[in-house]
């Protein structure tokens, strides 16, 4: 009731119906994409790297649902299989970044002192680079390939999470319940694990989906520059990049389907993130 009295003059959100819609649509898209990735072999008659001996650049319809690309590979099958790589790398990389970043942020934020100073100066240095530039450098260092890209993208993002969690922890550690835990004799590790960790993840939950979308775009950008996944592995970014000249010639099917797939998946993450954000905002107002 007290909350209602605090409510503003402007037309409020209709109890987050739009947020809910965003979350549903966003996760719906991602679930469909994940299913497509999992069942890709069942949904396509061609292998993702299988070359059609009868020729390249076949138009959609007929033998190939979405035509074939410049290598004579089936676009539909590749678009589906690419979901494994793109979603896999994005989600794993962000997960890794969250784990590492959270850990560092937790340590820096709660312990403070020199640990904080050292960790945060390192984070400062990493954050002095725009993320894509850093991703370029790290991928040039590690090379392409699934796990290297996971590490690349995770390494680029972890500092941001470290900073985010640290800031959160620094606020939280002044909270009464942390003082309560201290006076209840909880150990430092116990406080970090039992009290700070679960509560400091709140902003991470919102950022992570948005970050997944960003990771997919970064991956595509790296592939476009030839620093991403090695051919002929099906990956949306490299498919788009290979198909650019086809678009100019009117052969839309080699790059538009992977482009749309990428767009839709990134959009899925964005919608989910935006929805979660709105819900979090609404919650914090309450």
């Amino acid at each position: 009731m007290a909350s209602l009295e605090m409510l503003p003059v402007v037309s409020g959100t209709k109890d987050g119906r739009f947020a809910k819609a965003l979350i549903y649509v966003g996760s719906g898209i991602l679930i469909v994409a994940a299913l497509a990735a999992i069942f890709a072999p069942l949904l396509s008659s061609w292998g993702p790297k299988e070359i059609d001996p009868s020729g390249t650049l076949a138009a959609p319809g007929g033998e190939h649902l979405l035509g074939s690309d410049g290598n004579g590979m089936d676009v539909w099958s590749r678009v589906l299989h690419a979901a494994r790589i793109d979603l896999g790398i994005a989600v794993l990389a962000v997960a890794l970044a969250v784990v590492v970043g959270t850990l560092l942020g937790l340590l820096a934020g709660y312990l403070g002192g020199w640990v904080d100073d050292v960790l945060m100066r390192i984070v400062d240095i990493f954050q002095a680079f725009p993320t894509f530039i850093l991703a370029l450098a790290v991928s040039a260092l590690l090379g392409g390939g699934f796990f290297n890209l996971v590490i690349t993208i995770a390494a680029v993002n972890a500092p941001a999470y470290a900073r985010l969690v640290r800031a959160e922890v620094r606020t939280l550690r002044e909270m009464q319940y942390i003082e309560a835990a201290k006076t209840s004799g909880a150990s430092t590790l116990g406080i970090m694990w039992r009290h700070l960790l679960p509560n400091s993840l709140t902003p991470v939950r919102v950022i992570a989906p948005l970050n997944c979308g960003w990771a997919m775009l970064t991956l595509a950008g790296l592939s476009f520059l030839g620093l991403g996944v090695t051919v002929p592995t099906a990956e949306w970014g490299s498919m788009i990049s290979l198909g650019t000249s086809d678009v100019v010639a009117g052969r839309w099917w080699t790059s538009v389907p992977p482009g749309l797939a990428l767009l839709v998946c990134v959009l899925g993450f964005s919608l989910l993130g935006e929805g979660l954000q709105e819900r979090a905002d609404a919650k914090s107002r309450r």
């Binding site: 605090m6 003059v9 240095i125 725009p130 370029l136 788009i240």
Partner: protein, 336 residues
């Protein structure tokens, strides 16, 4: 005065960070696989030739010596000599920085203005169809890879409609623009070269649009959320409850309070745009910093990579500093 002291202090704080960046990039380029010398020599070169070339660039020295030399050079503003071109990196960089910064600054400025306008518009109509569509459209823009978007815009704006000049170069060479800063539009404005102004502006449209579409969403999201927060704040409610007219409310109570948190995000977005230029420049034949740095990276041109990364980092932290100053100026609660 207070601002100056603040800036001074922040600049001092930057020194360790930049030193870290210097060390990091110096080490990074040296652990990259690939030999910078081989690529300039051609395969017929002997080991002796390679050694001679190495000596020419000081790469035969022990690492710590190379680092000290590099550091010594930095102090005097000398970024070394490009292995690929043999020219001074400082000079090359000066030529490349202008076009890229022009692109990024214009794009980010437009994105910020647009985000402020749309964000406040959207927040004032929170949860209406208009608000929802603005947000969804921004998210769409945010979800398209820049290079693909760039290509589509070229296809539409240049190939199909012919509204924009060919995506090569940044200004029509027949306008005889005198280069001053490297940022063509600025140069054209300074020299009062009418045709060059319109030509460079026309060349800017598509790449700027590409970047704007790419970075609008996060800015918009932030402005809208802030505006909503202000609109829902007790402070705004109080002003409204005291019957202040719409215009006073918008100007005095909504706008500035909304923008308080924007600068640091804008700085972040500046970084994103700076990163995106590597791709956008390629698509639009925009020979700027990104292309230069990328080529340096691919050919392991150590001095070029070191300098470009350092300068990007420097520009980035500088933008963050500016953002902090603007933030302090916008938000009286910030102590500086």
């Amino acid at each position: 005065m207070r601002i100056l002291r603040f800036v001074g202090r922040r600049l001092l704080q930057l020194i360790p960070v930049l030193l870290g960046v210097v060390v990091l990039t110096f080490l990074l380029v040296r652990v990259l696989p690939g030999d910078p010398i081989r690529s300039i020599l051609g395969p017929n070169a002997t080991e002796a030739d390679a050694d001679a070339a190495r000596a020419r660039f000081g790469l035969d020295q022990p690492i710590w010596k190379q680092f000290l030399d590099y550091l010594g050079g930095l102090v005097t503003g000398d970024f070394g000599t490009s292995i690929q071109s043999g020219a001074s990196v400082t000079g090359e960089m000066a030529l490349r920085l202008g076009p890229t910064l022009e692109l990024v600054f214009i794009a980010v400025s437009i994105a910020i203005v647009l985000a402020i306008w749309l964000g406040i518009w959207s927040a004032r109509r929170a949860d209406t169809v208009g608000d929802h569509s603005v947000r969804i459209f921004a998210l769409f823009g945010n979800s398209i890879p820049e290079f693909w978007l760039g290509l589509v815009l070229i296809l539409v704006g240049y190939a199909a409609l012919g509204w924009f000049p060919a995506p090569s170069g940044r200004v029509d060479p027949d306008t005889n623009l005198t280069p001053l800063t490297g940022a063509d539009l600025i140069d054209a404005l300074i020299t009062g070269n009418g045709p060059a102004i319109s030509s460079s502006a026309a060349h800017l449209v598509l790449p700027v649009l590409t970047l704007v579409i790419g970075v609008l969403a996060p800015l918009l999201r932030s402005v809208r959320a802030s505006a909503l927060e202000v609109l829902r704040s007790e402070a705004y409610a109080a002003a409204a409850a005291h019957g202040l007219p719409e215009r006073t409310l918008l100007r005095g109570y909504l706008r500035r309070a909304t923008l308080v948190r924007l600068p640091s995000l804008a700085a972040l977005v500046f970084g994103t745009a700076l990163g995106s230029t590597v791709l956008v420049e390629y698509v639009y034949s925009w020979q700027g910093f990104g292309q230069w740095a990328l080529r340096g990276l691919l050919y392991r041109d150590y001095p070029v990579v070191q300098a470009s990364v350092l300068i990007i980092a420097f520009a980035y932290v500088l933008v963050f500093l500016i953002a902090d100053v603007v933030h302090a100026w916008l938000d009286p609660r910030v102590k500086i």
